[in-house]
């Protein structure tokens, strides 16, 4: 059985360590915040200028001027801080963020990531993704293993324009957890009920 979105987020939550500063991307990565292990303290960083992001506000308490990078209303935990965009990206680029978990369109066996642009389609821009993948100490991509056409999103080489080169440490998908190593993709774990053969069949590059 392939992992559900929630199960993917749970698998990614196992990347968290006590005291980590973590930046979560939009989409499934956002759900990881729901699975922080009991008793573990982490600080969520949001690149628009917030360290110590809390849960969504209670209904009626939302503040238009307290938002995350997805422009969602959020809260600030006690001990949280706010700052300008240059300082926020100094945290990212300067290697002060321990872990970035973000979505992906393609990941290559050498750790290249494409997640910001599809030529010929609507252009959204890269936002903070290029800075995050070049600066975070560890980059984990959380995405479906295949695209809507059933084609693998894990490839020998990315076809889409890159977000970063050789930047991905681990890929967590609905089918498996896979590390990027100097020798290529290494299968770390299959989702419950999924075989190595099924993962290999869905992967566009050899698995170690």
């Amino acid at each position: 059985m392939a992992r559900t979105r929630e199960e993917m987020a749970q698998a990614a939550a196992r990347e968290l360590q006590d005291g980590f500063i973590v930046n979560l991307g939009i989409g499934i990565p956002t759900l990881v915040a729901n699975y922080v292990p009991e008793g573990m303290e982490i600080l969520l960083h949001s690149e628009n200028g917030l360290l110590g992001m809390g849960p969504y506000p209670l209904e009626g308490e939302e503040d238009a001027q307290i938002i995350n990078a997805g422009k969602e209303t959020v809260t600030i935990i006690p001990g949280g801080s706010v700052f300008d965009s240059a300082q926020s990206f100094a945290m990212i680029r300067g290697g002060h963020v321990d872990l970035a978990i973000l979505g992906g369109m393609e990941v290559s066996a050498t750790g290249d990531l494409a997640n910001w642009m599809v030529p010929g389609a609507r252009v959204n821009g890269m936002g903070g993704a290029m800075d995050l993948v070049s600066g975070a100490k560890r980059v984990v991509v959380l995405m479906q293993h295949t695209n809507k056409a059933g084609e693998s999103k894990l490839l020998d080489k990315c076809v889409l324009p890159l977000t970063g080169q050789g930047c991905v440490n681990r890929v967590i998908t609905d089918l498996a957890t896979i590390d990027v190593t100097p020798d290529g993709f290494k299968l770390v774990e299959c989702a419950a009920g999924v075989t190595r053969e099924q993962v290999q069949a869905a992967t566009g590059a050899p698995l170690l």
């Binding site: 949001s46 690149e47 628009n48 200028g49 917030l50 849960p55 969504y56 506000p57 209670l58 209904e59 009626g60 308490e61 939302e62 503040d63 238009a64 001027q65 307290i66 938002i67 990078a69 997805g70 422009k71 969602e72 209303t73 959020v74 600030i76 706010v82 700052f83 300008d84 965009s85 240059a86 926020s88 990206f89 990212i92 680029r93 290249d112 609507r122 252009v123 959204n124 821009g125 890269m126 936002g127 903070g128 993704a129 290029m130 800075d131 070049s134 600066g135 324009p161 890159l162 977000t163 970063g164 080169q165 050789g166």
Partner: protein
């Protein structure tokens, strides 16, 4: 030192066609709403706008796009801004996309008198095309140039007659950087307080970077994505 102006119309009296303009805000959060409305009313054209998103969902700077007042946009993320996406595809507006941290640092460099910087962001991507690449202590970097502008329009929570500003929560974002990088920075504040009311330690942006200040009114404070927890 007369920095206090009556309103947006008075403070933006000399913005002309073809001006370059930095506008603070992240999406619609922390926008200089009064100054944007005044520029829309004034109808100045062929503007170059530096902004993280250049408006969203038809609001904020998207008003200037709807009015066809914008020629060039320098931004990092334009998803959720259909006005800009359509005008870009139609070739009516030139859009230069920068990684968000590179955009922030280019503005900071512009205001700090730095002639550019080497960053690892964008190495090996289309962002690096045409830029100098250098290996420093074994790591690859690309060269990015500073950004400056004729005007910056920003919003802060508190300000005084010296132009000292204190921002509120995540409405700060690019605003203090843009204030440093513009020849004329026009700040609108929710509250104009007496000089001395802000403790020196609590001033986020010293007034040296602010040339004009006025009290803003009628804030809409739009929320793009209202996300809440239900009450038990």
């Amino acid at each position: 030192m007369k920095k206090v102006y009556e309103n947006a119309e008075a403070a933006l009296f000399d913005v002309k066609d073809g001006a370059s303009l930095m506008s603070g805000g992240f999406g619609l959060c922390g926008n200089a709403e009064n100054s944007i409305r005044e520029l829309a009313r004034k109808g100045v054209k062929d503007l170059t706008v530096v902004s993280n998103n250049c408006g969203n969902a038809g609001k904020g700077l998207a008003m200037l796009l709807k009015n066809r007042q914008v020629k060039t946009v320098i931004a990092s993320f334009i998803g959720g801004n259909p006005d800009l996406q359509q005008q870009m595809l139609a070739g009516e507006v030139e859009v230069q996309l920068n990684p968000q941290g590179t955009l922030a640092e280019r503005i900071r460099a512009g205001g700090a008198g730095i002639g550019g910087f080497f960053t690892p962001t964008g190495v090996g991507t289309v962002v690096a095309e045409g830029k100098e690449e250098r290996v420093i202590d074994g790591k690859r970097y690309i060269f990015e140039k500073p950004l400056t502008a004729d005007f910056a329009i920003i919003r802060a929570r508190y300000g005084d007659a010296y132009g000292n500003l204190r921002f509120y929560r995540t409405a700060r974002n690019f605003s203090p950087l843009m204030a440093m990088a513009a020849r004329v920075t026009v700040a609108e504040v929710d509250e104009l307080v007496p000089v001395g009311a802000l403790d020196p330690d609590d001033i986020h942006l010293p007034g040296i970077f602010v040339q004009r200040i006025y009290r803003g009114t009628d804030y809409e404070n739009p929320i793009e994505n209202r996300t809440v927890r239900p009450r038990a």
